[in-house]
Subunit: 268 residues, 3 copies
């Protein structure tokens, strides 16, 4: 793999404090030609699952050879390992806490490196900010051409991520909301493929909270104003939305339009 | 026009979700040398007017040959057209919903292209995320030197934007608040030129909510602490502010310092 | 000093309005090769102290020759001077209101330039947005190689910043919270060195609000879930945190976990 010189950042650091800027300064001090792109710094604090799903949604849109840093790291300073994951076309750097599990379990040619070579870290490594002291410098070195396999020994026991999959019976397909987005859309973990396989030629009835939606729309504007609708979102997952409004508010009136709430699909 | 390789983004996507990062990944995958600058991702959801005024305020500060992407797109997936607007010094890419109307109606050498050449889009175009699938790839191609006139046929019937202009009588000049900014300043649609022409050599009396302000200050610090004042803002429009405080809060006590509220100027 | 071509931005402008994007457009129009990194745009409105401490925390992680712009500028348009501070390895551009005082008083080879050469400004300088009209253009010129000493006369009377230092007696070391970060951690002004010197071989007892904490932990995970702890943060200052929770909420129940609240350290 030829590196692209591009590094992305996915963290739960927010953008109020100088933490993200500091990571970028560290990167540019090591590789002045790196180009740095933010994926999100508003991952829910400590939510490895939220970070992992955001990264899965975004990483493959970047040029091959991009280095993706992800730091949601409640175990920083403990004995959790810092790792680098080398996939066929991309590199990932961050804590070994499940963040890269969806990559590791779905991509080809995976190699996982336990980052032990401290010569690629900042000289003084704090116990609380490995984004700055370990992950940014390692990613910078790798984005500049250092061989990632030199950064430490291979491991084959990465920490898994526990993700609930949709449950299918003859009568229903049950999933959950995994993210409420900026528009108030409820993004679920039910993929178009699961839905097609379950429904066959039937029309779906979708229950979320005490609301019921019939059928799947193509896009937001196909429903009336303020009407609750279901569609397949831009990443291929079932999504509950409101045309010109916020589904999270309509659904939450009675039942809380929140992450983890149940979505149940049955056949009409 | 020689392209600058710079692309700007103005959207209502927020920065919590990976949507903006994904657009940047798409751009860099097509034009690895593009440099991408955010104008704002906090346009009021679905507000074409808000996006249009933000873009008008910002676009001309960028190098000639910059490509400006703007995506506030409640009609995504419907039959609203994706367009590219070529002005004398800049290119604009986004939905044909009025977003670029202020550019089209004020700039020279305007050409409007209906984006129909799908070879410049991502291979699979979703019904809900044309920022990723249409606008980012088109802008990336154009920023890399592809002739924008090749992207589809010219059109001459772009969708207009309905904007209310200030209303002037012999006694008064009435406008409205078009944006409350981060500092709580109320930005109006009354331009310095309108004001000068209306006032002549008279001193203004400005009424907003149940507050009254006399005269125009040069800058914030010319008023006492927490004193409501009027000034000509940095883009040439009448602005209501509070020295070391938030005008939106002072005005809203009685009347709501919000977008759309009336501002009335008379002569002392 | 050789310039790096990198410019950082620290402001209280927020990211909703187009102000930050406009500054970047101005920079790129003057130096198309500049690379611009945000440190923070969420400095507390008008808080010179907040901006100064954020800048001090971040600036030295950037490559030598970086130009740091900081704009928290309640005196914009008054007679407060625009300045450039040249330190041994970095340049700083912004208002003369104390923002760069911690740099000026701790770094070597300081030269302070009063920016008077208007040929390096935008042609029309507003009374309210010197970030756009003065600081961005000056930084862009300097980042492109213009000699900063040409930008105006040297001065030796910069405006100081009033900062409270921790107070030490035989019995106690008293400091204060200077920032509540994104995670709800309370960052104090008590440096590890002050603490070591005060404590000697004693174990600390830390009082904050009506809470009491004994000892210093190495990292967040060393305390039980939701347990209040004290540690030395990644910039070397005493920090109050909660493992998997928000210290600002636990402390504020009784006493307000806010900037300026007292932290008192005594010996066990």
């Amino acid at each position: 793999m030829k590196v692209s010189g591009i590094i992305t950042l996915t963290t739960d650091f927010g953008i109020k404090d100088p933490y993200v800027g500091i990571m970028k300064g560290v990167i540019l001090s090591i590789n002045p030609n790196a180009r740095i792109i933010d994926i999100s710094h508003h991952i829910k604090a400590g939510s490895v699952l939220h970070a992992a799903t955001s990264l899965v949604e975004a990483y493959h849109y970047f040029p091959k050879g991009t280095v993706h840093i992800a730091v949601v790291d409640p175990g920083v300073g403990s004995d959790r390992r810092p790792i680098l994951v080398k996939a066929k076309n991309y590199l990932f750097v961050g804590p070994d806490n499940g963040l890269f599990w969806p990559i590791i379990t779905t991509q080809e040619d995976i190699k996982i490196i336990h980052l032990t070579k401290t010569e690629y870290f900042l000289r003084d490594v704090s116990a609380t900010f490995h984004g700055r002291d370990v992950f940014a410098p390692v990613a910078a070195h790798v984005s500049g051409g250092v061989d990632p396999l030199q950064m430490g020994p291979s491991i084959d026991d990465p920490v898994p991520l526990i993700q609930r999959s949709p449950q299918q019976t003859a009568e229903s397909l049950c999933g959950e909301v995994i993210r409420v987005d900026h528009f108030g859309n409820l993004i679920t973990n039910i993929h178009r493929k699961d839905l097609d396989q379950f429904l066959g030629k039937n029309r779906p009835v979708i229950r979320v909270g005490n609301q019921m939606i019939k059928g799947i729309h193509q896009t937001y504007g196909n429903a009336g104003p303020n009407e609750l609708l279901a569609l397949i979102g831009s990443s291929g997952f079932l999504e509950i939305a409101v045309n010109l409004g916020r589904a999270s508010e309509q659904v939450s009136i009675s039942s809380g339009g929140h992450t983890g709430m149940e979505i149940k699909v049955s056949k009409e």
